[in-house]
Subunit: 275 residues, 2 copies
């Protein structure tokens, strides 16, 4: 099974692929998220694994938007513990480091580390693992990178500082996507089912409150709500929600029917075992 | 009056400062958002002007987090129309362009332009106006930048393509912040008042629904809801909401008291004239 992910080999998404599909799955790196989705659409891969939210940083907006743009189904979920390391070419000492390259999100997750080390300059790079690869190949003066220990291993970098993220409660939640028609994976998991959906409210007072009543009045547990701007309609929003329950459960079906009455658009994105 | 903003001179935030404080206000550029907040805390400036959401991209997460970390008040709001231009050193033609530098958000707002011009490589830079400055000073081979026409003017770049953003309904909403104790600006505006607040729900079923009932059952108009992760408590969230009404209006005061009953934390971030 081939699974597309964003970044270079050694990215945290690669760990998510192992957790979701096992070590035999072949990770296929793509530079940008839209290319990950395109690879699945073009049948170059069987699945795509994308980060959807991080416990420090929040939702990965772009992937919420791409979920709406494409018509895939979410068939799995997993959480990866994110540990950031300062990585440099062997021979470099911490006192030699002047510039630190990494993805903007990774730099943002190490704000306390940068506050404690004001001599270090932050340099935004498009990918965490890719920043290690670049530092090892191009050896910019005083250059180090922030990435996973897997990335250090792959590109033969030396870890100068381990676990420099601000908060050890740093997890990223990933979705596995497959093309339309893919069945939910039942598996051996004893975890509850989750259902993800997206809707827009009708333009009326208390619209979001009415929409959430479809879920809350049935005692269904809402685990996440995310709002995204509606393109071409400034200051109007799409809402993505996750709830506990399987989409074909009668109570969930009633909630979806009720939500359909009070929303102007509704789509179920998938039903899957909770991580 | 001195107002801090993120980016280099020519950033869209500079336009927001003009709209909020007039042309006599002195814009003080800072490289990162946390430094904008620090400048206000350290009394180096009288106000800070920060982007809070964009109609294509969504909320600027980091600023929501910094609003919580600091104890400032929101005293104003404005919307800036965002027009992205492809800018290069004079003498360069569009067919010479190979690499396009800009802020990740700006690159993301021009996805259709890049899809139509696959020969162009995207290069993430920390700032839009800063990318023009860099392209003009360092002249990387085939390098162009995406930024405002103000940035083109300031750094004497040539606009090769105008308005390359995917959607003309591209606006960014900015907040003006002042230190605690600053009074809301009444002004001559006939616009309604808005109040922004942040809260966490108690850990109980239907918690968000109950919290929103404090607003919806009083027919107060909710214009925005944003969820952010709660640090150290994976998969729990803070909610930021904006509603129409002034914080000292009796109905709004009742709604805030009611919200206080069903939330474990509540803070009013400011009350100000809507843009």
């Amino acid at each position: 099974m081939k699974a597309a992910f964003q970044g270079e080999l050694g990215a945290f998404s690669q760990q998510a692929i192992v957790q979701l599909l096992g070590k035999s799955a072949k990770p296929v790196p793509e530079p940008w998220f839209d290319q990950v989705f395109a690879a699945l659409a073009n049948k170059e891969v069987d699945a795509a694994v994308i980060p959807i939210e991080n416990t420090l940083r929040g939702s990965i907006y772009e992937n919420y938007d791409l979920l709406l743009k494409h018509d895939f189904v979410i068939t799995g979920e997993t959480n990866v513990r994110i540990v950031h390391n300062l990585i440099a070419p062997p021979g470099m000492k911490f006192s030699d480091v002047k510039k630190v390259f990494s993805h903007q999100v990774a730099l943002y997750q190490c704000i306390d580390f940068f506050a404690a080390n004001p001599q270090l300059e932050k340099e935004v790079f498009y990918d965490t693992a890719g920043s290690v690869k670049m530092v090892m190949e191009q050896r910019p003066a005083g250059g180090a990178a922030i990435a996973s220990d897997l990335a250090a291993k792959i590109y033969k970098g030396k870890i100068l500082k381990r676990a420099i993220e601000d908060d050890s409660q740093n997890f990223t939640r990933f979705f596995m996507l497959e093309r339309k028609g893919a069945k939910p994976k039942v598996g051996k998991s004893s975890k509850p089912w989750k259902t993800s959906l997206v809707f827009t409210t009708k333009n009326m007072p208390g619209a979001l409150f009415k929409a959430l009543s479809a879920v809350a009045l049935r005692d269904l547990n809402l685990t996440k709500i995310e709002s995204r701007p509606l393109r071409g309609k400034p200051w109007e929003y799409l809402f993505y929600i996750d709830l506990i329950g399987r989409a074909d459960d009668p109570v969930v079906k009633n909630a979806l029917a009720h939500l359909g009455e009070v929303s102007s658009f509704l789509r179920v994105l998938g039903t899957y075992r909770a991580a």
